[in-house]
Amino acid sequence: MKYGGYTGKILTVDLSSATFGEFPVTDELAEGFLGGRGFAAKILYDELAPGIDPLGPDNKIIMVTGPATGTLVPTASRIGVGCKSPLTGAQSVSYMGGHFGAELKYAGWDGVLISGVAKGPVTLVIDDGAVSLRDASDLWGTDTRTTQELLAATLGRDFKFGAIGPAGENLVSYANFMHVQHAAGRGGIGAVFGSKNLKAVAVRGSGGLTMGTPTGAYIKGCRELHQIIMENPVRDAFRWVGTTGMLPHINEAVGLPYRNHRDDRAPDVSGIHSDEIAKYIKQYEACGGCDVICGSVVEFERRGRSYRSERIEHESVWALGPLCGVTDLPAIMEAGHWCDLLGMDTMSAGAAIAWAMEAQEHGLLSASDTGGLDFSFGNAGVLLEAVEAIASREGFGDVLARGSRGAARHLGRGEDLAMQVKGLDIAAYAPRAFTGMALNYATTSRGADHNKAFTVAAEFLGVLGDYDRYSLEGKPELVKSMQDSAAVIDSLIMCMFTVDLGISVDLYARSSNLPTGMELTAADVYLIGERINTVERLFNIREGFTRDDDRLPPRFAVEPAPSDEGGHTVDVTAVMDEYYAVRGWDARGVPAAPLLDRLGLEHAWSRDA
């Protein structure tokens, strides 16, 4: 291909026949979809037949990097892992940092498309161009850390590893795929690995990447991007406490969902303040290519057990903490640690527990339903018990392993208490306090994902404007533009934190152009992002999603948060027509012909219409 930054090929792995192949990354694919999330959207749309069982043999896993992955572009070490989600039935791509994505590029692959089902547990080994499947019977049942350590001892310490844990093996619908303690976390990709008997992936790359810009200019251009981040004051906040610094401020603003969103403020978060978390930090860790350094290693003890683990993140400390009414930090960190090692999303795990807590309080769950587990709000002791039961699917764990909505549907009660959209649980920014987040949660293709348009930056942090966070005025345009630019960030693949660190849309264009040699403008970035969001929408429409799926749980339109003196509620249906119109979708939420024509997608759609 004529563009730099890419390796130009995607590995194909058929687990059923244990055969391997490849297909090229064409100039047209790069121009239309850029990489990462764009490639995943296009490939999942083309490769997955409508209506397939997400945990059946016809689902596929796409692991995909972007043109900036493993280059000097700041934060671009990430990899996306996508499939049809067993949690939502929608298309879903999860992203993780670390060093796995870059290693895959150095091995010569822009991505890996995995199909079929292996006869028994296997590890996919990618050693540059040499690809093999290795018996993983001895690894089946081990946690994600043990699996990676055993593989390192066997294959070599210069490999990079990703693995599922028991939760993925047991098809927990929000199981994840872990590299070190980085998680491709949401949407249940780990269960799809489990359904395919694919326990782990090992990759080692010794090759090189050629850039589309001459070396001297390339180094200078990347250096300028790094300097912008290094000089941004927000970097210092991430640098010391990662994402956890935000929590007290969001809580003070009555924007932190508490007790399954019954309120948006916890009475006292001093025990889980970032200053408390920081006391456990032993060393700092970055992902590849990153000078933000939001990661760190902590050491802590609880009930006589000692842990050395990744410092917990904002979303995890919230979901296993205030969302469940808990502020016992070691208990939260311990539950988060075991979510990582057993291999499940901390956010959906916390949301499922919080759902059970509210359901129990409403008398919808009895002690016999829960097998004696006490799901009282604030009961820190139940966190780890529930996480272990979910991973093994023993007793009530089998119910919660279906996610909050799935649990409610399984029992036939309490669905209004499941705080989710399309099955994906709402993140740590309260819909009633940030209406842009509410509209984003309602409309993104994979459900209530905060990273698809982090409007808090524009509604609260003052980074991208100064919007009234309670009003829906102007939010359809804001949400659309942020969703479209986020799609490109996920395609390069850069870290979403760069939005808060002075990287504007112009600079995402530059971050694309430096490695590829393209000449994209900010307008091109928005256009590519719009195309990606539209193809994701088309996938979901084909799966039977309708306007009815673009809505929040009923609570938010009728119950103000008790701590909010303004008594705000949010009803995103009031602006849904406007949002669809801004998007070029018809009143049913279906992308209309003029939009498809403008995006060059009319052929793709007419094939299925």
Binding site: G70, T71, L72, S77, H99, A102, Y106, R145, Q148, E149, A152, R157, D158, V180, Q181, G205, S206, G207, G208, L209, T210, M211, T215, Y218, I219, R223, H226, M230, Q283, Y284, E285, A286, C287, G288, G289, C290, D291, I293, V297, R308, S309
Partner: protein, 136 residues
């Protein structure tokens, strides 16, 4: 004599040093072939960082191991120079010193040359885990 010094407790394992080194020296981003490479002990979880880069201490094991004159010590710059024309590809130097790397594509032996007095890895290190030290 100057050298790049590694401070393991400051390193955050971002790999920017080996990315920029390989691009500058080879015109490709290829950390495995860089003249500086950070590795780490996997145990305990995310254990100690190590850095492979010529420390210029110069027992010159690589030079001594070379049966030809492909590796020679440049006294004026205080660094080892590689002459591709003289290299037979015996790879003795790789066995002699863990700080030596090889670009598999060109066969070039990679040893830190201090970027002619302005090491890019030092400039790019966000945490000053690499510093530019003088040694008497």
């Amino acid at each position: 004599m100057n050298y790049v010094e590694f401070h393991k407790d400051k390193c955050i394992n971002c790999d920017l040093c080996s990315e920029v080194c390989s691009l500058h020296k080879l015109g490709r981003i290829q950390p495995s072939a860089a003249a500086i490479r950070v590795t780490r002990d996997p145990s305990p979880y995310l254990g100690e960082r190590r850095c492979a880069v010529c420390d210029m201490a110069h027992d010159r094991a690589c030079v001594d191991s070379c049966p030809e004159d492909a590796l020679i010590f440049d006294e004026s710059a205080g660094v080892i120079r590689f002459d591709a024309g003289a290299c037979t590809g015996c790879l003795n130097c790789l066995d002699a010193c863990p700080n030596v790397a090889r670009d598999p594509l060109s066969g070039r032996i990679m040893i830190c040359d201090l970027c002619d007095g302005s090491p890019l890895c030092v400039e790019w290190c966000p945490e000053h885990a690499l510093t530019w030290e003088g040694r008497a």
